[in-house]
Symmetry: C2
Subunit: 191 residues, 2 copies
C-alpha cells in the first residue's frame, strides 16, 4: 500500500496512538487503513460415497484438484459463499448441511470454513475456473495432485468421519508449507 | 474508495472480465481492489458459574457491556486473536477451550467467532478500551445493556449449555438490528 484510497495522498507505516501495530496511515486525511485476514468458504459436495472435486484452470495451483471454495464476498454469509463458489466452479447445486472444518492459516492470513453438503443432482460441469469436475470415492482421490493442504485435510477428515458415519467439527492451524508443514489440532492457546 | 492504493490514480467501479461483481478497479495500473468480510474473534472468559464482561469505553456502543472481542489481525489465528483481545480489553489471561459460536452478520460483512475459555486467575482490570470489567452470573447479566446482538446470543447459548453441562457449537445468521432482528439458526442454504 502506497497511497490513501480515500484522498490519494501518500501513506506511511506508523503505530497510531493507542494502537500497538504498524498500520498504513494517511498524514493528509488521517484515515487508518486496517488490513485483516480473509475467509475462504467452500464445501464438500457429497453424492453417495463420493465427493466432487474441481481441476483448477487458474493459478495458483493450475491443474491441481480442489474442493469448490473461494474468498467470501461482502454482504453474504459463509454458507452462501460456499454455495456460490460451488455453482461458479462446478455448476453444481448443493444443500449445505453443517460446518465441518475451520482451518487457520496465519502465514497467509486466511481462515478456511468448509461445510458438509449434499449434491442435489448430477448436472454438474466445469465452471470458468475449472478444467474438469468429477466425483471421487476415497480410493480414487488424487492425493498427490491436490491443490492445497486445506483440501487434503478436509478430505482426510471427511473420509475418516464417513467410516464412522459421524461428522464432527474439525479445527486446526496449518503452519508452513508442503512436506514441512505442521497441522496443530484444535484451538490450543493459553495466555 | 476513491484512489488506487498501489499507484494513486483514481479508481472506478466496474465488473472485471470474468467476474460478476462491481469492484474498485484502477484504470492506470489495472489492480483490482477486492473487499471482503472481516472476522471478529472473542471469547467467553468463565470463572466458576460466572463470565467476564467489559463495559465499553469506546464507540460504537460506549458504556454498554460486551465480551472481549475484536477484529482479527493479519498473521494470527482466530483463537490467538481472542486471547489477545481479552488481554487488551480486560487485562485478563484465558485458556481457550473450543469454538463455541459462529455468527454471520452479512449486513455488516462480519463473521463472529466466539470461543469458550477459562479465566486463569482473577487479576483482571479495565484495559484502554474498557471503563470497567466484572464477573457476572446468569442472573446478574445486564441483558438490556449489552453492546451487540452477537454478545446477547453468545451469553444466551452459553448459559443454556451451562445448565446442560454440555457445550456445543452454535451457528447462525443475524439479520436486521435491534428489536426487529431475526436469528436464523445454522447454515441453511440450498441452491
Amino acid at each position: 500500500m502506497n497511497f490513501c484510497s480515500a484522498c490519494g495522498a501518500q501513506v506511511a507505516q506508523k503505530i497510531p496512538p493507542g494502537d500497538n501495530r504498524l498500520r498504513y496511515v494517511c498524514d493528509a486525511c488521517h484515515v487508518i487503513h486496517y488490513q485483516n485476514p480473509k475467509i475462504v468458504a467452500g464445501c464438500i459436495p457429497a453424492w453417495e460415497d463420493k465427493v466432487l472435486l474441481c481441476k483448477r484452470a487458474i493459478e495458483p495451483r493450475y491443474g491441481y484438484w480442489t474442493l469448490p471454495a473461494g474468498f467470501m464476498e461482502l454482504d453474504e454469509t459463509s454458507h452462501a459463499a460456499a454455495v456460490r463458489e460451488t455453482l461458479e466452479e462446478a455448476n453444481a447445486k448443493v444443500e449445505i448441511l453443517n460446518l465441518f472444518a475451520i482451518f487457520n492459516l496465519p502465514e497467509v492470513s486466511q481462515v478456511y470454513m468448509i461445510f458438509n453438503s449434499n449434491l442435489l443432482d448430477l448436472n454438474f460441469s466445469a465452471g470458468a475456473e475449472s478444467q474438469e469436475v468429477s466425483l471421487f470415492s476415497e480410493d480414487e482421490i488424487p492425493w498427490d495432485e491436490l491443490a492445497f493442504l486445506t483440501i487434503r485435510y478436509s478430505l482426510k477428515f471427511f473420509f475418516e468421519d464417513q467410516k464412522k458415519q459421524s461428522y464432527q467439527l474439525h479445527t486446526g492451524d496449518i503452519i508452513g508449507r508442503g512436506a514441512n508443514h505442521r497441522f496443530l489440532t484444535g484451538p490450543k492457546t493459553r495466555y
